[in-house]
Amino acid sequence: MIILETQNLSFGHDSNTLIDNLALHAKQGESIGILGCNGAGKTTLFDLICRIKKPTNGTIFNASQRTAYLTQIITPPPLLRMHEIGRLISSLNANTPPSQAEILSRLTHWSPSLSKRYTDISQKKASTCSYGEIRSFFTLTLLLQDSDLIILDEPTAGVDPEFRHFIWVGIHNACREGACVLVSSHYTEEITANCHRFYMLANRRLEAFNSGEEFMARHRARSLDEAFINASL
């Protein structure tokens, strides 16, 4: 079932068009990658989907009951413990905020090591958490809510391999349980390896790909990064 679809989506300021005529669709249970260089318009696209910005043209069909959105830069309230911040986020966003026991039970089902890591971070004050801990905690907290469309803006940027692994474990399991996850990144390899499909946003346009091989073939490249560079030029 299609949960999100955009048609002829455009946005710009005055005469400066940032994104033009975008077409995107996403189904329940899919993880969709959005690749694009800095300033390509990935965040703008997500803001449009979440209605934080209004498109200058085109339509957005969002059939999700609940959309969750993790933006790139967030500084958590430093004096709160992470589990308190988790409860705050759930009370603000979730239809029915899950209890800590429900969260941990679901996480244990996903991965016992992930559950243990999440529990450890939950007890820490935000001011003492590392960037990776904060990023993975926020991502997992959003994935554990009752959202059926989850938008993650570069959740793995600047995060070490261990927390990147945990973030992707969370994304895979949320999709398995029926959520649709839209995730942006600069890392072509992790997108092609982990997402069902992906789009490349470059030069104001969105190009759809089903695999890394298709991406490299269409941009006449021998590596994914080369394809990324060629697509961005």
Partner: protein
């Protein structure tokens, strides 16, 4: 009907949870406790001990403590209530978690409740510490002072919400609130030390002075409360309606 009741109950629960977390966060901020709660108490005690007054009536306490209560209400409204809104926006927290209509509504209600409780707690603490220098505690007197205090607090939240609506960064907001507090104190001090004629026009513009008039029974409490409540609710409504989601530093 059952479904509506369940939604109402769930929303009430969420607002209570958010309020509790916001109060917890505030109580962990030692600087806020020091400047808004402890410092006014200490200053009042020191000045009272240095200049003891034989008149220990209720009117005398109200007149002596009016500036202190006004300062506490301004301090919590500016550096707590309004500054927090700017801080959460500039940290990117609002952009990620408080951008939908329902989330904004829940957040603003919980935020208002939490700072109403915090400010009232500070005023009560001030009363409990300072009143013994002016006779025995009185519940009626405390309730009257709290009513004056909350009216004053609502007045300052209107100003604070106006500043929070401006497209200013966290550091600029900090400077602006500090500057406003300083100007209000200076204006109040000059009003108290100079003759009424010379300072009259200047001091009338000072919201801190207006607030002290409430405590001195120079303004009608009930109508002042109704007016400030209406103004504060309107300011809150417009804050929610035109809620600033994007941090000012952000290119988005």
């Amino acid at each position: 009907m059952k479904r509506r009741s369940a939604t109402l109950f769930l929303n009430t629960n969420k607002i209570i949870t958010i309020t509790t977390i916001l109060i917890t966060e505030h109580t962990r901020e030692p600087t806020a406790l020091l400047w808004s709660a402890i410092a006014p108490c200490l200053l009042f005690v020191i000045t009272t001990l240095q200049h003891p007054t034989p008149d220990v009536t209720t009117q005398s306490y109200g007149a002596s403590a009016a500036w202190f209560y006004s300062y506490i209400s301004a301090s919590v409204a500016f550096f707590g209530f309004s500054f927090y809104l700017i801080g959460r926006r500039e940290s990117g927290f609002v952009r990620s978690f408080i951008y939908e209509h329902n989330s904004i509504l829940r957040f603003l209600l919980a935020h208002s409740f939490s700072y109403s409780i915090i400010s009232t707690a500070y005023a009560s603490l001030f009363y409990l510490i300072t009143k013994p220098f002016y006779g025995n505690y009185s519940v009626v007197e405390l309730l009257h002072l709290l009513a004056c205090f909350y009216t004053s607090y609502l007045l300052f939240t209107c100003i604070g919400l106006g500043i929070a609506a401006l497209p200013i960064k966290f550091s600029t907001a900090s400077t602006l609130f500090s500057l406003m507090s300083f100007l209000m104190l200076i204006s109040g001090y000059s009003g108290a030390t100079q003759s009424l004629m010379t300072s009259h026009s200047l001091i009338l513009l000072n919201p801190l002075y207006l607030s002290t008039r409430l405590f001195n029974n120079e303004l009608p409490l009930l109508s002042s409360f109704v007016a400030t409540l209406a103004a504060a609710l309107s300011a809150l409504y417009f804050t929610g309606r035109y809620f600033r989601i994007q941090p000012i530093w952000s290119r988005y």
